[in-house]
Amino acid sequence: MSFLFNRRPRTNTVDLPKQAKEQITKINGPGGAVKSEELAKTLTQMKFMLQGTQETETSPEQIFALVTGMIHEDLLYLLALNLYRLPFESRKDAQVIFSYVLRFKPPNASPKSDPIALSHVINSRPQVLVELCNGYEHKESATAAGTVLREVLKHDSAAALILYDDPNKSPENAARGLNGIQVDVRQSGKGVFWNFFSWIDQGSFEVGADAFTTFRELLTKHKQIVAQYLSTNFDLFFDNYNDILMKSSSYVTKRQSIKLLGEILLDRANYAVMTAYVDRGEHLKICMNLLRDERKMVQYEGFHVFKVFVANPHKSVAVQKILLNNRDKLLKFLQHFLEDRTEDEQFIDEREFLIKQIRNMPPTPVEPTQKPALLSQQPR
């Protein structure tokens, strides 16, 4: 922090974003190494200005000037876009800068208003969010981008923007940020949200696990938005989910996604999605195979999805067929399923309940009295 005081008069607050912009656009070109060093210094300076140090307090006026400067120079976008190119320490600085800037409210703002930079991003520069997600493309930027994203995702509008990002969207709608979202239009599957599936299931544990954490936030934090989204994009979502996540060869991906599936299905807000999901015989098959997985925790998580199929009072004919075909095996299997879970009362009760349900099923499939409200768009 000595450089804040000792050197020649430093550039003032307004110049910092400008300076950072100039440096960031050149780190890829000739002399990039030098620029990147300069940029590192600029970012550190910005960080200290925003968070203060253990010795110095911050000045809201200075921060206000900095934040508006950053908006003016479109620096948030540039930082998100180039996050992985920054050196180790600068990535952390950038993460801190994002956190502070996206939270900052001018001292005179009403407590209910959104932070100024955040509302700028949401209303006119949603690409910042998209580029933050793209941080998962690179191991270097994944953690920093993920940390920022999860903080931003506390706002439902940010979650909506990420979910509804779609290159097929008309450019004018895209530029309108939140107002450009049409919830009833089906997604093309090319938007940034759909990349999460591959980010989660790529090689590195660090990147995959972080991407999954963000993915989970996206799908569980804002229930109404997600319920609507999943209803509209039911097939696309579950095709991806089943093929990439549930069948993943990575233990972590597999186990976490089964668990998340259970959480999504059992969420009250997703009732329509749940009934549609458990209507499909294909889904039941995936689930029954999980029960036979060789890893106990996979079996256990699989059980919590399987139980939804069995407990459903309006089982489809397809589901009934599968259960009936396997009735004896299932009964025998469930008797001894995860026997060593002797202390998990809820599990034991549920297992007993399922056994009873399966045992008491009528011998031939019966047409259900009620069909899922959410009829699948593409019959299979």
């Binding site: 660090e206 990575s250 233990y251 972590v252 195979n289 925790m297 075909n325």
Partner: protein, 604 residues
């Protein structure tokens, strides 16, 4: 980083409830590393927490913090590759005896550098103690074990989660009043005392009680002419109860005691001392080598595949048994796509003998194996068991004073039948820990009486009170207590009798209580038995606020020395013979409390 590189795994360095740590060589560089294997199958819900630990670690780059290198999945094991520090932990190094002030000053200075770094990065370590301070063979000091570390998004913000290890915990952490970086400074002060005395203050007290003592008692001090004035002052500075008046790491670096500290090389003496000490002792002659478990579980009867009319499930042929594997290739994440695949990858070289001669590639460097005598090679049978997830009601005697941060308790059902308690697992769990022969024999008069008090007094009382209680939460609490009591009855009727007797005695010796309750010897009215334990439980529950307990389950750093355990056993509040029951009950209550917290924060 992990792409295409390979590690040669050498012997085991230690283990904890989270898994096992191995020494290994990175083949491409010849560098010696430590690899922590975490068995994800044995943890219910920890993946996200582990990821949290990794993200804290991976954003640290300081010579005073153990360097994280990489992490990757192999099947359901997560491997975390870290810098290897051959000197062992300060707790290990304390075994031959306590440190002198000169050594402690150096260690404290280096730790302060480490803390200064962490704190300016917005990180709180939250578990500073000798067991988490590692030394290199050259005397470098590094902070390790970030299992409960916190990352603050705002440098000035505070936390109020309840984590750490009781003896080292700052009062403000226990009181949940909101704390910040200063909590680490307190723990550093306690660690300094641990290094000079061989154990932290209050080590003889039960950790649960310590949680009450720390906020209540005056801060511990070093007293006596055997300590220098500077050292005493340094400890006093760290241990200021009011965290606002407690100095920061940066400020403490200017303290006289630290300023006068010597070079880190002097710490080599500690490492050498430990090596000599180890040499003089007979220790297990065979280091434990890494053994790859490929597929150990026998597949269930495969004829029982599901019948789906369209999809044919390929039956698994699973014949691979345990094999030893010396060189492990790491290509991204999926090393083994299936057993067949795994089998293909095996080759004849993978015989157990491969271990004793390192592969030629790695020989040229100075990484030639030397028995790392500084590192404990004790067979950690017990710790291993810890990771197998079956530990009903198992009190961990190592608690607090050695490596463990928080012990693991299994949930016990609300069902208060004896049958449930006497199942094998349960009995084994408890008896093993109490070092008693398995099985419960009712031989003594006391034990007969104990059984009688249970059936005539305790159980009916519980039943009655339970029936009278309408509030759901209260009912549940009561049924848990009944449950715990029946466990005690099943295992130690004698102790049960003693417990009741002691309670009645206490009640009678208190004039106020005795006039109200159980005036006659031998009779016990409803509710009385709960008085004491309930009070504790109630008080503890007030302090609950802990999303990090889950990660605690994994916290048990490295090796638990056996002699330490013996020492502990002699201390009051640990396990007096004939007094196990009281400890057990306290442990059960403490476990309940932890469970309560865990239930309250299921998502975390």
């Amino acid at each position: 980083m992990s792409d295409g590189s390979a590690y040669t795994v050498l012997q085991e360095l230690g283990s904890g409830s989270f898994g096992v740590v191995y020494k290994a060589i990175e083949n491409s560089t010849g560098e010696v590393v430590a690899i922590k294997h975490i068995d994800l199958e044995s943890s219910e819900d920890d993946i996200q927490e582990i990821q949290q630990e990794i993200s804290v670690l991976s954003t640290c780059a300081s010579p005073f913090v153990t360097q994280y290198k990489a992490s990757f999945l192999r099947g359901h094991k997560l491997w975390i590759v870290m810098e290897y520090l051959g000197g062992g932990s300060c707790l290990d190094l304390l075994k031959p005896g306590s440190f002198n002030e000169a050594h402690i000053a150096i260690i404290c200075r280096e730790l302060l550098f480490g803390l200064e770094y962490l704190h300016q990065e917005g990180k709180i370590h939250r578990d500073i103690k000798a067991a988490n301070v590692l030394l290199s063979t050259t005397g470098k000091v590094k902070l390790a074990d970030f299992g409960v570390a916190a990352q603050l998004t705002n440098i000035k913000s505070q936390r109020n989660t309840f984590v750490g290890t009781p003896f080292w915990m700052a009062p403000e952490v226990i009181q949940q009043a909101g704390y910040d970086f200063k909590a680490d400074i307190w723990s550093l002060g306690i660690t300094a005392m641990e290094l000079i005395n061989g154990e932290p203050p209050n080590a003889s007290t039960h950790p649960m009680k310590v949680l009450f003592l720390i906020p209540k008692q005056p801060a511990p001090r070093l007293e006596g002419s055997q300590y220098s004035k500077d050292f005493k002052d340094f400890v006093a500075q760290c241990l200021v109860k009011d965290c606002d008046r407690r100095p920061s790491a940066k400020e403490l670096l200017k303290h006289k005691f630290i300023q006068k500290a010597g070079k880190v090389e002097a710490l080599q003496e500690l490492v050498e001392r430990k090596q000599e000490w180890d040499g003089g002792k007979s220790r297990p002659s065979h280091p434990k080598f890494y053994e790859e478990t490929l597929r150990t579980m026998a597949p269930k009867q495969d004829p029982e595949e599901w019948v789906f009319d369209t999809v044919k499930v390929v039956p698994r042929k699973n014949t691979t048994k345990r094999r030893k594997l010396s060189v492990i290739h790491v290509n991204g994440q999926n090393i083994y796509d299936g057993p067949e695949d795994a089998f293909k990858r095996l080759d004849l070289k993978d015989s157990p003998l491969e271990y004793s001669s390192p592969p030629p590639v790695t020989m040229k460097k100075s990484t030639v194996r030397r028995q790392p005598s500084a590192v404990q090679l004790i067979t950690p049978v017990k710790q291993r068991q810890a990771s197998t997830q079956k530990r009903p009601l198992q009190p961990d005697l190592n608690f607090g004073n050695s490596g463990s941060t928080v012990r693991v308790f299994r949930r016990v059902s609300d069902n208060s039948t004896l049958a449930q308690v006497s199942n094998d697992d349960n009995l084994e769990g408890v008896t093993r820990d109490e070092n008693r022969p398995p099985g419960v024999e009712i031989s003594t008069k006391e034990s007969v009486l104990g059984r009688r008090t249970f059936s005539k007094v305790v159980d009916p009382s519980f039943q009655e009170l339970h029936a009278q209680t309408s509030n759901q939460a209260k009912r549940e609490a009561l049924s848990r207590l009944a449950d715990a009591w029946s466990a005690l009855d099943a295992i130690d009727p004698e102790g049960e009798y003693q417990l009741l007797k002691l309670m009645i005695d206490r009640v009678q010796s208190d004039s106020k209580l005795s006039s109200l309750l159980a005036p006659e010897k031998g009779s016990l009215k409803d509710g009385t038995p709960q008085v004491t334990p309930r009070k504790n439980a109630g008080k503890l529950i007030l302090a609950q606020n802990n999303p990090h307990l889950q990660s605690h389950r994994r916290r048990q750093s490295t090796v638990q020395p056996d002699e330490h355990r013996e020492k502990l056993a002699n201390l009051p509040g640990q396990a007096h013979s004939g007094m196990e029951h009281t400890k057990q009950l306290a442990d059960v209550l403490y476990g309940r409390w932890l469970d309560g917290l865990r239930n309250k924060w299921p998502a975390v």
